[in-house]
Amino acid sequence: MADDIILEVRNLKKYFQAGRPGWFSRREEFVHAVDDIDLQLHRGEVIALVGESGCGKSTLSLTLMGLEEATEGSILFEGVDITHATNQQRKKIRQRIQMIFQDPYESLNPTQTIEEIVTEPLVVHGLTPKPEERRERVRQALEDSGLKPAEDYLQRFPHQLSGGQRQRVVIAGALVLEPHLLLADEPVSMLDVSIRAEIINLLADLRRARGISVIFITHDLSTVGTFADRVAVMYLGRIVELGTMEDVLKNPQHPYTRALLSVIPVPNPRLRRKRIILEGETPNPIDLPSGCRFHPRCPLAMDICRHKDPQLLPVSDSHAAACLLVAQ
Amino acid sequence: MSPEKSLKRYRTLLKKIGWSAFTILFVVILNFFLFRVLPGDPVKAGTHDPRFKKENQEAMRVRFGLDKPVINCFETLNPVQTGDCWINPFETQFFLYLRNLARGELGISYHTNGPVSEILVERLWNTLLLIGAGQILSIFFGIVFGLFAAWKARTVIDYSALITGLVAWSLPTFWLGIILLFWGSAKGFPIGGRITPGISSFPLSYQIADIARHMILPTLTYTIVYMGEYLLIMRSSLMDVLSEDYILTAKAKGLSTFQILKDHALKNAMLPIVTIVAINLGFTVAGAIQIESVFSWPGLGGAVYEALERRDYPLLQGVFLLIAVSVVIANLIADLMYSYLDPRVQME
């Protein structure tokens, strides 16, 4: 069912130049931010991209948005290759893919009113030239985002709202274009725990009501909960494990996933578990380790891991992991 | 330090020096064309100056090739007269200007009929004496008052320092000089110059004391004006530093106020001052021109004033070049000093 797939990523790579060859050094260096990623997203599906900072999850989302040019590979959106779209095509695509950012304090222009912020996408795309119709759409987007009644918010400025309300405004600004795909880059990590749930629940309700697909980027798997259908765990630019939420939580295959899950604190003092704490820090994505890129920190590393780079291989129909232990 | 890092530092150093060299080249070229693009080609016109001796006119004409085209394709630039493009580039005024510059020849003054370079060398030292004394005093007082203002923030000390700084900054240098001169002459201070004429027969200590007496008013003018700016910067910089988290850490460690100011605040707050001193060198020269004009101090700034009064264009051209090049070099030194002081810049 190819129609069912809204987004397909094939062998996507995004490298950044780190050192420029100059008078004194001839060596070119690259940051391997996203290094060979394959991913399919179904219509109405929510996938969580999980990983620590520097794993490439944010670069991946920016590349999918077309805000960074892919180095290699292709991105197919609704069956069309958009990897190297022209500016005109890109503008059209942006009505269909929208993004929500981590920091609602930063992602709203402090000099614009809420109305201006939510109207802006319509103006940029020249949609709904009639003022009444435009106002109605803005009002609808705000109320769908939980800011009811919208009239109370239209004339206010971002600094007059709370963090949760601001994130709702950001969501309204994305909704007003009626997107098919939403990229949410750590949308709750800057918010107090007490209001995270309302944003997650809002996204879940939107997905249910509108069938929007969501890519949810986070460093903390526990915040996603049942909201996500599938989880992709990333490490140093690669997906190391991919499966349904249940697969990954109940039966993690990759040693990195296991460690990551074990260190997420559980709010129950009777459940103090043995944590797998990895040594050291994520290596520099310029000089990648040989073989499996996780081997220097892997508690289960074997000799072969230093030479052989594992591929993402299926464990079951819905579950895959890139580990030589799994392949055996 | 690893060899890679020292290579990196070396590279940054070379880059900075290279960039300053380029700026100097730009100034040199600008200095040539300014005096030829602007109306009347004063260099050429000036050779008919009645004060200018015939033999000097001839020497200047030969040495600076004033009968030659300005550059390839152009006989003169104002009014624009095109000429032969295939002429040997070494046979142009521009090349001769560069060649003479390389030899340290800056032309002959219309007024004294002596080489401009000789006049400037003597005056450079006088200016350095004045600027040096003024800078040291203004930086010192600016820092001390700024420190007290920030430390005692929101008290009478702070407000008076702030107002003093703002008023001092707003004073036109030359006017403050005039007022101090007016007041000083009534109090018996020397009214101008560097040294009392005829004192050269006295012992050296007398001469030094005499120069110092002449320096009091110009240095005071300089100090007041620039102290204002340093005070304001020091105050605001220290206010920033003192509200940083690491000051709270230092306090939590049990350090005394004196220790915190000395070991944690001063160096961090001084860094912006170094930058400002560098950027200010241009303004410093502006100040020197004004002060030396008012107090007839025989420095470079005074030379500007005299050159303007006497329409002595070779002198003006020479002074401008020397001032600009000195400022570029001083800027480079301040920049290198900054990267020595701030470990964060050092390693980049």
């Binding site: 725990v193 526990s222 | 960039w19 006017w175 000051i247 939590a252 241009g282």
Partner: protein, 662 residues
């Protein structure tokens, strides 16, 4: 749909725009207002000079040789000049020249500098490189000599002067605008605008320009004053437009034509006074604008703090803490902290009591703005200058820390109680090596220790927290985030404290690094027998590490109990709601519920229970009466909620208790 509606969030008051906000703040800024008034006055004089000037400065009709350098009189308020003209009239006309040159030249500079700055900052790459190289080159060439040379070589007319000053005065503007553009460009709302599909033009005009504008205005004021100073200097050097009267020219004539020897101070003072008036007016206005646009708390950590007062009598005695075998180390009784600013009192912490036993790890939790950090800073007596301990005692080794002098407190800090601050990047001095900053504390508290021993102790401490000793001579920016936090821990342990306060030590760190740091902290605490107060908003971390928990809300104790009780039998609705909102990986199907609204602002605390506006169980009494602290289960569990009183489980008697001092 169980979507949490923001019903409890505040209804909008009268919407205020940034501009009305700005004006409100500016009106209160004395310097800015004085500067503005000075400028308005001089602009008035300049515009109406022909109407109000007593004489025409261009006409020499009726002037005789007896009129030269006449002192101020009834006819000539500011005296006469070298040509016998009225100084006051010339002064009034001179204002016109200064202001015209200042405004027009600055306009040219601002436009050039603004365009170059925005283009360079926004487009980056080669364009930026080229433009900024050019700007830097122009910046180091001293501008006054260049202006002098150009004006000297061209005809000195007003128009020439305006253009030369304007064309050479843009460099600082370009640099400032560029760095501001870069800063704005990196903000997320610009990325958001791109994600919407907006083009460069739209972004520059709608998102960059509005945020660069305030800075440009402040800079414009500086550029105007520099242009005015430059013009007056030019005129003083004799390069002014001979056809108009300017202040600089008046000074040039007076200085050059014997005002000094004639003792005619009025001819020298008046024009200079004009320049100072305008420039000072501009400077004050600029200073005021900057304070309003870029407000900084004019306060810092070295300002003297307010003394402790015992302002709240008749408080319910501190409830008994959680019983433990080990002795009490830190006993906090009825502690209140107020912020006093411009006569307004804000109760940041009210009547908090707890006991920290030897070897205990106490978790202090609550949302942001609940007074956690204020409480910790009060324990260390590190409150900001506006903060005061308004009531209560902090007993540590029999001493009441609240009553100590600053000098006595300095001895307790670090050797008795130390702090691991949130955000180690900012808590470490960037220009001193990490080792040096650790050694400094040791030298202060153990002055008899020889330097060599201090050095080896520093290395030992670094190794203890898992940093190899060779890194001791490195600067904080050479450390990674995790290493900095480790160094901060090493520093906190350097003087063998008994109590360590860890204020959100893992916020902003990755989960794995966070786990490493927490593991380290836990291990060190057990090994060294430390008592730790752990401030956090992460209920998961608390559950994994702490022995007891103090839940704060709106500056008061909501609930205080051992960790198992808090998680498995919480009595306060706030604790219950917090737990409902907190995700649990072991129960992925748990439907999370937010607490609607947000914690109360300190200047608008509710009259009754501080949690009542957000509490799902609130009833009438909660909105009028603040609940007392109720002890449950014989004093090992404390909750401040009216429901506890009503509940079937009877609250145990509140035994007044004094701490046995050792």
């Amino acid at each position: 749909m169980t979507m949490a509606l923001p019903t409890a969030e505040l209804k909008p008051s009268i919407p205020s725009s940034p501009f009305t906000d700005f004006w409100k703040l500016f009106r209160k800024n004395r310097m800015g207002v004085i500067g503005l008034v000075m400028l308005v006055l001089i602009i008035f004089v300049a515009i109406f000079a022909p109407l109000i000037a007593p004489y025409d400065p261009d006409s020499s009709a009726g002037i005789t040789s007896r009129d030269l350098y006449n002192p101020p009189s009834a006819e000539h308020w500011f005296g006469t000049d070298d040509a016998g003209k009225d100084v006051l009239s010339s002064f009034m006309y001179g204002a016109r020249v200064s202001l015209i040159v200042g405004f027009f030249a600055a306009f040219i500079s601002i436009v050039i500098g603004g365009v170059i700055g925005i283009v360079a900052g926004f487009y980056g790459g080669r364009v930026e490189n080229l433009l900024m190289r050019f700007t830097d080159t122009m910046l180091v060439i001293p501008d006054l000599p260049l202006i002098v040379v150009i004006v000297a070589l061209t005809r000195p007319s007003l128009l020439n002067i305006i253009f030369v000053i304007g064309l050479l005065g843009w460099t600082t503007t370009a640099r400032i605008v560029r760095s501001q553009t870069l800063a704005v460009k990196s903000r997320k709302f610009v990325l958001r605008a791109r994600a919407i599909g907006a083009g460069n033009g739209h972004i520059i005009f709608n998102h960059i320009l509005p945020l660069v504008m305030p800075l440009l205005v402040v800079n414009a004021i500086l550029v105007i004053s520099l242009a005015i100073l430059n013009e007056s200097t030019l005129s003083f050097l004799g390069l002014g437009d001979p056809t108009v009267t300017s202040w600089g020219q008046m000074l040039n004539f007076a200085f050059g034509r014997g005002a000094m020897s004639a003792g005619a101070w009025w001819a020298l003072v008046a024009p200079g006074f004009g320049i100072v008036w305008v420039v000072l007016g501009l400077t004050l206005l600029g200073h005021g604008l900057e304070q309003v646009l870029n407000p900084r708390l004019e306060a810092h950590h070295l300002m003297p703090g307010r003394p402790t007062v015992q302002g709240e009598a008749n408080l319910q005695p501190a409830p008994q803490g959680i019983k433990r075998e080990s002795p009490v180390l830190l006993d906090v009784q009825n502690l209140s902290v107020n912020y006093v600013n411009e006569g307004r009192i804000m109760k940041a912490v009210h009547n908090v009591s707890f006991q920290l036993h030897e070897g205990e790890l106490l978790g202090l939790v609550g949302e942001s703005g609940c007074g956690k950090t204020t409480l910790m800073m009060a324990l260390m007596r590190l409150l900001p200058a506006v903060g005061e301990i308004a009531n209560g005692h902090i007993y540590f080794h029999g001493q009441d820390l609240a009553a100590l002098t600053e000098a006595e407190m300095a001895d307790v800090r670090w050797s008795g109680i130390s702090v691991i601050f949130q955000g180690a990047m900012n808590a470490l001095n960037p220009v001193r090596t990490v080792g040096d900053q650790i050694a400094e504390a040791i030298r202060k508290h153990l002055p008899e220790m020889p330097p060599g021993v201090v050095d080896s102790r520093v290395m030992e401490l670094l190794e203890l927290v898992g940093i190899s000793a060779e890194h001791k001579d490195h600067y904080p920016h050479q450390y990674s985030g995790g290493m900095r936090q480790r160094a901060m821990i090493a520093m906190a342990l350097s003087c063998n404290p008994q109590v360590v306060i860890a204020d959100e030590p893992t916020t902003a760190l990755d989960v794995m690094i966070q786990a490493q740091i927490l593991e380290l902290l836990d291990e060190l605490r057990k090994r060294l027998g430390l008592s730790v107060i752990f401030v956090t908003h992460d209920l998961g971390v608390v559950a994994e590490m702490c022995d007891s928990v103090l839940v704060m809300y709106g500056g008061v104790t909501a609930e205080y109990a051992d960790v198992d009780t808090i998680y498995n039998a919480p009595r306060h609705p706030y604790t219950q709601e917090l737990l409902k909102a907190f995700p649990d990986l072991t129960r992925p199907d748990k439907r999370l519920v937010s607490i609607p609204g947000y914690p109360p602002k300190l200047d608008a605390l509710p009259t009754g229970c501080r949690f009542a506006p957000r509490c799902p169980l609130a009833f009438e009494r909660c909105t009028v009466e603040m609940p007392e602290l109720h002890s449950l289960n014989g004093g090992i569990h404390v909750a401040s909620c009216h429901l506890v009183e009503i509940s079937p489980r009877p609250p145990s008697s509140l035994m007044p208790r004094r701490v046995e001092q050792d």
